[in-house]
Amino acid sequence: MIEDFYKLEPYALDKEQKNALITKELKELTKFHKEHCTHYANFLEAVGYDAEKVKKASDIPFFPVRLFKDYELLSIDKKDVFKTMTSSGTTGQAVSKIFVDKETAIMQQKVMVKILSNYWGSKRLPLLVIDTPAVLKDRRTFSARGAAILGLNVVARDMLYVLNDDMTLNVEALRTFLEKYKGQRFIIFGFTFLVWQHFYTELLKLDEKFDMSEAFLMTGGGWKKLESEKVSREEFKKRMTETCGIVHFLDHYGMVEQTGCIYAECECGHLHASNYSDVFIRDPKDFSPLGIGERGIIQVVSVLPHSYPGHALLTEDEGMILGEDDCPCGRNGKYIQIFGRLKNAEIRGCSDTYADKFR
């Protein structure tokens, strides 16, 4: 039961304890989804699932994350859908649809709060969003960005969108916010590229200098776009410190299909799996699990998805486990590094490829 998890600090469990608890929970979820989602039951049958043979979390069959774009997958009555979360691809063509009921939504929020409070304390903090309110208004752009903001909104207070609809910086609003919370802890949240392009670059152009040394800069969305502009994450952090004094950074990895279970960055720059989720690196050759320091395809599990069969997923990202239970920050669990999306293959031949649909 999820209550067993709530009693614990989110990074309390060591390898053995975690595997025991999470495997039991995931097996129950697999059984539940099998009984409530025909598509998922067929899938289990096709891969030859045998619950008896599951000894560890990595034995649970993993479901390809892309199929949430092709199929409406849910284990609840449609009338019990509380909200539908969508993630748009880069082109905005194919969209993942995740159906969340009240129960799952509450768990997502609760876990998000538990994970984040572990970093910046349990008090709700003021939130400065490096984005435009339009990201929520327009349903087509209500994407991973929108979902992340809404998720954070629950753990924060007094949220301010600091970009105008045309993505320009609202300096006036920023100044007022910073004066109001001078010397206090607050959160800045934005996708890395937006923070760089529409916040950092704009701040550079101003004559005045702002002090944000008390802020936690939480980022998401990956580093690929910045790296393509030859800005490394170290460079990014250095520049943010120079420009506005930010010293607390909290990057994260997560996906709309497993909302709530984010992999947050600790003081050592490592992304951590909490008790609520785990990550396995799969060998592309045969999907066998790889060890620490080996690069492969990221597979994730989460104990939160109750309304849709998203508890064990094969992502299309590449990553590596850096270590387990031994990060100098003191948190237990695996800590990982993300390399970004798997590279597209140049497929020969004359036919349309499946991947074309998603470009």
């Binding site: 892309r66 592309p284 497929i347 499946y354 991947a355």
Partner: protein
């Protein structure tokens, strides 16, 4: 001809030849000049050291050598009454480098002023062939310059429209979306169009016959049919149908022999493994009776217990095979729909397949070939006699 050349890059010939194309006389079918030009092109390509690295360029060069063209010519008894339709506009596919040359070959033999748009993707194969063409244009074949204009241009509705407005026949190779995009450009009222759309193919193997064959040589042929083009050519089998009494033994032997070759020759990218697994799960989710039978990702095999007309919607490339055991050959009818192109066979009488097609009037199957030969270059493709289809026939009423 009104054409804006800003967007055009000429790989052979130039704007002058293109602008004059409407006034250039068409040539007779199998004209002496076209045959001589292509035979010379064959030698020129084979002389190029770079050619050795490309099996597809080599096969192309052999296909157009003099003897091969003369043999093909004999098959057209009424060729003296046929000539090119005029300007043939070819839109070549982006992922099969030599295809443009195959298309232009039929077109030149038909007697057309051949305008070929090749893809933006840089392929050494395209360079080799175009360099050879240009060498011939600079020496003995300057007169052929106006008959072969190879161009490149970025996606542009305007240019496609300008070229389409003057053509007499348009040939489009590519996926459904490419065809849809190109078709937005209108054709003149008399012009005809040939489209080579997305197709899929199947292999049928008699297990008893297979057990008597050399496993490695069958694997080599099947590898060429599939992995050589990432199993994404129209002619690549996506499903294997087994017949006979030794199916289990044959499967084991067949896939083991293929696996050996795949592991030593095929460079599988991680995303291809994910793509294959994703498609398998989509199929497994969609219906009951699907079983994963492979043990790793190099060859992903899934057994199906029924052939249905929508099964091929779940096709995938890069080494993804559906498998079915048939007690009777006629069980394959559901997958012989419009999109089915080639049936490759081993130990099965080709006529038996043709019989099924004829008797049932299915919409697919344009080609039945031996397993291992699906990639062969031929003048008959997708149900068309290519050269003939690009000509027109003059009829004389002899009373």
């Amino acid at each position: 001809m009104q054409i804006n050349s800003d967007e055009l890059t000429f790989l052979t010939s130039g704007i002058q030849e293109l602008e004059n194309a409407p006034n250039t006389p068409a040539l007779p079918m199998f004209s002496e000049r076209a045959v001589a030009f292509l035979s010379a092109l064959s030698s020129e390509i084979l002389k190029d050291k770079r050619t050795r690295g490309f099996v597809d360029v080599t096969s192309y060069a052999y296909w157009i050598r003099k003897a091969s063209l003369h043999a093909a010519m004999q098959k057209y008894a009424d060729r003296d009454m046929r000539l090119g339709r005029g300007i043939a506009l070819h839109i070549a596919p982006s992922n099969v480098p030599v295809n443009f040359a195959v298309s232009m070959t039929s077109s030149l033999l038909a007697g057309n002023i051949t305008v070929v748009r090749v893809s933006d993707k840089p392929f050494e194969q395209v360079n080799i062939i175009c360099d050879a063409v240009n060498k011939l244009f600079e020496s003995d074949f300057a007169d052929m310059k106006k008959y072969l204009i190879i161009i490149r241009y970025p996606h542009s509705e305007r240019t496609t429209q300008e070229l389409s407005s003057v053509c007499d026949i348009r040939i489009i190779w590519g996926g459904d979306r490419t065809i849809e995009t190109i078709r937005a450009a209108k054709l003149p009222s008399r012009a005809i169009e040939m489209t080579f759309a997305d197709r899929h193919s199947a292999a049928v193997i008699n297990s008893d016959y297979y057990m008597e064959q050399d496993a490695d040589s069958v694997a080599k042929g099947f590898y060429t049919d599939t992995y050589y083009t990432d199993q994404n050519a129209c002619s690549s089998p996506r499903i294997v149908i087994w017949t006979g009494n030794s199916v289990e033994k044959a499967k084991e032997r067949f896939w083991a022999a293929l696996e050996k070759r795949v592991k030593s020759e095929y460079d599988m990218k991680p995303i291809q493994a994910v793509d294959k697994y994703t498609m398998f799960c989509a199929l497994g989710m969609d219906r009951k009776g699907i079983k994963l039978v492979s043990h790793d990702n190099y060859i992903l095999r899934t057994e199906v217990d029924k052939l249905t007309d929508d099964l091929m919607d779940f096709k995938q490339n890069s080494g993804y095979f559906m498998e079915y055991t048939a007690k009777d050959l006629s069980e394959i009818i559901p997958i012989l729909g419009k999109r089915c192109q080639t049936i490759s066979v081993l130990g099965i009488d080709k006529k038996d397949i043709v019989d099924i097609v004829m008797k049932n009037g299915v919409r697919g199957v344009d080609r039945v070939v031996p397993l291992g030969e699906t990639m062969g270059l031929e003048f008959i493709w997708d149900g068309y006699k290519m050269i003939e289809a690009m000509t027109r026939l003059i009829y004389i009423n002899e009373k």
